[in-house]
Amino acid sequence: MLLTCFFLLLCLFTCPATRAGSMELIGAGATFPYPLYSKLFYVYWQQTGTKINYQAIGSGGGQRQLVNMTVDFGCSDAFMSDEALRTAPAEILHVPTCLGAVAVTYNLPGNPQLRFTPDIIADIFLGKVARWNEPRIIAANPGQNLPDQDIAVVHRSEGSGTTFVFTDYLRKVSDAWEKRVGRGKAVNWPVGLGSKGNPGVAGVIKYFPGAIGYVELGYALLNDMPVALIRNKAGRFVRPDPKTTSIAADIPLPEDTRVTLTDTDAPLGYPISSFTWLLVFKDQAYRGRSEAKGKALTGALWWMIHEGQQYAEPLHYAPLSPEARKKAENIIRAMSYYGSPIHP
């Protein structure tokens, strides 16, 4: 009897360990997909026993830590530059996991539903359009009562992927923006004031009549903030939501998916959308890693771009478009261990 008890106990303690080898993966990077990843990794751990520990330290940190080989995967809202990839110790792959969008939000009396053309947005953030009742804004918003009030521009104060996506959009739609500011996680803003994080920007706008700014779409939806419809390349005014964001990626994509989706060609797509990527080394045999670890990583990635996609929309993220998923599948299949493919 005692012996059976002992055996049972032994089984109890060893079972979770034998299940998937109690594999643990470590990742670090962007803060933007953190809520989604927390959910995904929790569900994945429950289903498979593979623990994935993710630290939201920012995209830059995620890239640095992967390059230094201190994590199993990095995560970034901006794809790595050609130069960064060249100087990396081994080939790095970008696996898109979901999409995000940047919403333009504002504070006006009664918060009417505004519509913006790309040139209006660019000129507002350049400081060229400085009042709410400028003829161009009125022309884009027939029937709306726009106040005779100064526009106060609010932007992110810290380096952020949201800023990168937003300025990338402005760069594409405005030559003046491209010449004067350009795109980056932190840029030299011609006007306005900076506030920290989505909550900071949202907070300033909320208490500042006449303010305009940009926040991550999920944050805007979660907090019921007014968001502007934006005219896309096809000439449609598109409301930002997870669906229109996904559609933005339903266009021919390059094989490595390192592309910005802003100003998309998709006729129904929201023009300020972007992928977020997991970054991994193509060959998983580095720093004495076991093949099992590489397999666990590809398995988790595969799960994220398939079963995991259902968790995106409830959390206000946009799932991958069919085209994007196909490309992501190819990228995961390309992963290897000492040159031989590891995805089953």
Binding site: A84, A186, V187, N188, L193, G194, Y207, F208
Partner: protein, 306 residues
């Protein structure tokens, strides 16, 4: 009992007492030395890590008005101006209040419930975490200042140099006030009594005897407060507006050196960008050091009988 202190016993312990003395002295010395080494180490590593930026920009870093991470052009001038403007303005705003507190507690009401409450409260000000100051400023102070700005007729940002200076001034009051109180209380009573005996009024004694006597100590308190203001990050970041342009006026949004480091460090991926941020830290370090040296010099010059 007297057996405890027999000459034999004292002699027998003498060596170990001496030994302990040596150990104690060495420990103290090494600990003190360690701080110096640490400071030097920080200074050196700042120089090493900012080398790419030092090499690329040279002196133009100090006078550059453009901070553009996209183009890789970095100039610290807007932040230098922002830091100095907010710190000195905060000092100017806080000085009347902190001096008044110091004189009141140090001279008028040394004991009693009122002075003990005042003492506790000013010291409590120093203990409040700066993020709380920041929040309070953002949600209470900024809307008030926005209304004021509408009244004055400037663009009602609410945040900016003025707001940051106001919140900083509250944060640095305890440093000047406590130091001032201590030195004012230390003014020898015989010279005060001498002044009274010559027919001086209390106000005259304070302005002509107490304050001149205590001025070097008060100056030391000011220096401490200034150091705190220069380096304050969190509360300032929340209300200064984080604009990287050279400030145009008292109410314009600006940025400080500490803020820009805190804001941009996490996402700085390019090598030059990162080293430019470290160089901002180096300059902040140097500015604090220079101000401290000037302050020490002033303290020496104005010290009574020194």
């Amino acid at each position: 009992m007297e057996a405890l202190f027999t000459p034999e016993r004292i002699r027998s312990r003498k060596l170990s007492v001496k030994g302990r003395e040596v150990v104690f002295q060495k420990t103290v010395f090494l600990s003190a030395l360690f701080i110096v080494v640490l400071l030097l180490g920080i200074f050196l590593s700042l120089i090493v890590y900012s080398y790419p930026s030092l090499n690329t920009f040279g002196a133009s870093f100090l006078f550059g008005r453009v901070w553009n991470p996209v183009r890789g052009t970095f100039g610290v001038l807007p932040f230098l101006v922002g830091t100095l403007a907010t710190s000195f303005l905060a000092l100017a705003i806080s000085l009347p209040f902190s001096l008044a507190i110091a004189i009141f507690i140090g001279e008028y009401s040394r004991e009693g419930w009122l002075s003990s409450i005042l003492k506790q409260v000013t010291e409590l000000l120093a203990g409040v975490p700066s993020i709380i100051y920041g929040f309070w400023a953002l949600f209470v102070l900024v809307p008030v200042i926005r209304k004021m700005e509408i009244g004055v007729g400037v663009f009602p940002y609410g945040v900016g140099i003025f707001s940051a200076s106001l919140i900083l001034s509250v944060m640095i009051i305890p440093y000047t006030a406590s130091m001032g109180r201590e030195v004012i209380a230390l003014v020898p009573s015989d010279i005060k009594e001498a002044a009274y005996s010559l027919g001086a009024t209390r106000q005259e004694v304070i302005t002509k005897v107490v304050l001149p006597y205590a001025r070097s100590g008060i100056m030391a308190g000011i220096l401490l407060a200034l150091g705190r203001a220069l380096g304050e990050t969190m509360a300032v970041t929340m209300v200064i507006g984080n604009s990287n342009l050279l400030p145009k006026g008292l109410f314009s949004p600006s940025n400080t050196m500490a803020s820009v480091i805190a804001n941009e460090f996490t996402e700085a991926t390019a090598r030059l960008y990162l080293s430019a941020l470290v160089e901002v830290g180096l300059i902040l370090f140097l500015v604090t050091m220079i101000i401290n040296i000037i302050g020490k010099y002033i303290i020496k010059r104005i010290r009574v009988g020194g």
